[in-house]
Symmetry: C3
Subunit: 346 residues, 3 copies
């Protein structure tokens, strides 16, 4: 009887080289089932992904799924190759949604290594990748950059040349992709749930989204599996000394986005993610709340505006909506600081 | 930096006026995904919603989803406007299903205020609404009345004129809507799971449905989210002093209906809900059982009969099937007392 | 007021006779929703069921669901008639998948009693059945034999003649059904996730699948309900003295199969199950790991090979991959010993 080593150990820091392109495994067809499971896991009520009729009334047919469904699926594919040996996911940038994803679309993802920087301790380093998800027609569905701290297999391995990519602080409004046919001129604000349009939001305005959701292990596991994300810490209570399952950061993103309906019901579509930080771990039993800040705004077309929003998830409600303390560090309880562009009727 | 108040505080008692019509937000397209998630949350085995082939064999194509899926979706839409500030949901009446709901249908709901009665304490009042869910063709899918006790925002606000609507004790058999094409003459009792037909049930007969299901927080949260029901107490362990999440009454209705298969397998379709009372709260860890009582029966067509059934859900099994104690109050353990009409082969 | 006994008590040992055919209730239409819920409950990443594009590229269109979805649905139908009063599920044999099951297919199951053997204690006996699931066209989708120990209703009932069927130790490679059109000649190993093909696996080789999943009550209940499996012990914490819900053995099968992706990513299709034993109970909180052993191999067509695999699920990881102790008994921690044939590119 022989033993084999056919299983995937993941890549370590010294396995990456700048310019390397990784084709990630397991293409995935999106279905109406994904929409339903997503709706059972997050309290989403945005009218476009909820109603095929509403979506068609603003020019979107067939019926798109939430951008975050596409994001989580596409992102999950990168985990076995990029972040199986990650210490931490450090950030996102330049994420753009190029077209709506609809049931029947099949997504696959590839990543290019765009930067490497070994840590001074010699035991790990930061890997920068730009990932692109394409559909069955070979068209880009979405793309994003992220950087992640990865263990070295061998701390004695030589450090690579330092390459730190030049990533935009945020996606410029002129680079936002508006879905073909999108037209908010006949938008039904009553059906959508709130009267507030583009011009009703002021830069600097903050919105406490009021509602909270207490997290459970079953739910975050189901969500994370749906994205075929294989990171052990989310599923295996034996993988951490404290016996807790660490909740996938994307679960907090989706929860906060869904909660943001209450005050941002018309911020229907996510056009880009400018930046994102998971600032503290979340576990079952935590109650997640959210607040938003309007960072910027831009007129996109006659009927479409874009709001640049900071979406903050907190453990426990913080009616003061405090992002950072006097020391400049994230305030206690802040779980997520996400900077994104949403499309909203003018 | 300014603050905003764009979030929905819900309506308080003094915000309602008799005759007012509220168009509820977020139209919702029903999909095969809803059927699957429902089947993962409730032990349903009724042949019509389980099998497209069986449904077609009784004249129902395309393949309808369970009436309760339509009910929960349509009901959920009313919560942000009608019962966000509710003290208690007091009752249902005159709920009729006008046509089967099938995947691809998009439901929206509107409600008319049909009654108001301030409580003597001056701090709350009862609001009566008649709600109607229509599909993408503007046809009525279902309608119902309910009344709910709602907080006042300001206890000093003047009491409105008392209007208490005249609601039927039960839907008359002649008012039941039989789905177009429904024909039980070729009904396959073996495939359906039990041999009992209309004539085998006697008024007064009680059926102990035997099986029990222990509730979990993840499951009731997933169900309630699927219906886009936003009531805080179902999702937020910090919203109640005891730290428990109160289970949506509709979760108990669906669980009891699914359990009733065992003894009522041929009561395939719900045609009307005559009355309903959630008599005690349910929480994760409770084990729910059900029993039914035949209240009445009516011949509808050559192949279709209707049974008027009392469906009782209990915490813990009560083989004595006791609804009320000697004091006339609901017996300990009774969670739900639901009065409905089901269609069954003659 | 009368009482009725319309509920299903299940069959007891003395209710079965050799040659008896039972048509099981509740035909069930498979949908894309089932695929999504399955993907939320098991960490499956096999490219064929994940991607309609990938499946079509190997000749499988429309897009098949996992064979285990079909198996669990077909198996679940037998529970109310065969194993509601079971002491234990003793084994499986001769399970063959005759054609892929695709969304829109409706499955029904019938069983023939092929053997009976009363236990010496006179209180129970072993029932052998061969079950066949057919689709809406009357074609066989899958078939299997199983034997189960069932309580007697009356220990004084006469023992039937002993009939023990002759069941094959394993399905012969020549009896495996290869799906019409299956062609692995253009197989995309990068998309599938691993480079290992038929010839890379040696008989006797063992593969530790590394990853573990901690089980929850909500998840196993949801899975088991999805299959309309009615066994009380899976759902009712009051049905067992220890207050635990026993996890459906099929949940462990699906979990182990999904985990086996890591090392067997190209073992895309299950063609047959040769044997299976649930060797210990599993409960919420257990962390399930898996390992496989290559038992045999067979060339099937120019592009398709078959591996006969032992799939072992364990509670806690056993890197030694020990099936049995020196005493010949299953090692502590072994939950499942499943013997199956998988189709893999040559």
């Amino acid at each position: 009887m022989s033993e084999s080593a056919k299983t995937n150990p993941g890549n370590f820091f010294e396995d990456f080289t700048v310019g390397q392109v990784i084709e990630h495994a397991t293409p995935r067809t999106v279905t109406e089932g994904d929409r339903a499971v997503y709706g059972s896991l997050y309290p989403t009520r945005f009218a476009v992904p909820s109603s095929a009729e509403f979506a068609a009334s603003v020019g979107l047919a067939p019926h798109p799924v939430e951008e975050l469904i596409a994001f989580h699926i596409a992102f999950g594919k990168t985990v076995p190759d990029v972040s199986l040996n990650a210490v931490a996911n450090l950030g996102y940038a330049e994420c753009r949604f190029h077209q709506p994803v609809v049931p029947g679309d099949t997504l696959r993802t590839s990543s290019e290594v765009i930067g490497l920087k070994q840590n001074s301790n010699g035991r790990s380093g930061v890997v920068y990748v730009r990932s692109t998800a394409t559909n069955q027609r070979g068209e880009v569905a979405l793309e994003w950059a992220r950087w992640v701290m990865v263990h070295k297999r061998d701390s004695g391995a030589a450090a690579p040349e330092v390459v730190v990519p030049d990533l935009a602080d945020h996606v410029a409004p002129t680079d936002l992709v508006v879905p073909t046919g999108l037209d908010f001129s006949g938008y039904d604000f009553v059906a959508a749930g709130e009267p507030h349009r583009f011009g009703d939001y002021a830069v600097g305005e903050r919105i406490d989204h009021v509602d909270g959701v207490t997290l459970t292990d079953s739910e975050h596991q189901q969500a994370t599996r749906l994205w075929q994300n294989t990171a052990k810490v989310h599923f295996n209570a034996e993988a951490r000394p404290d016996g807790n399952r660490l909740i996938y950061g994307g679960h907090v993103i989706s929860m906060a986005r869904a909660l943001s309906f209450n005050g941002l019901a018309n911020a229907q579509l996510i056009a880009a993610i400018n930046a994102g930080a998971h600032t503290a771990p979340a576990f079952a039993g935590d109650t997640v709340y959210a607040w938003s800040e309007v960072l910027d705004s831009a007129e996109i077309s006659e009927s479409v505006g874009a709001l640049r929003l900071r979406l903050v998830a907190t453990k426990g409600r913080d009616e003061s909506m405090t992002l950072r303390g006097d020391d400049g560090k994230y305030a206690a309880g802040v779980l997520l600081d996400l900077d994104y562009w949403a499309l909203i009727p003018r």
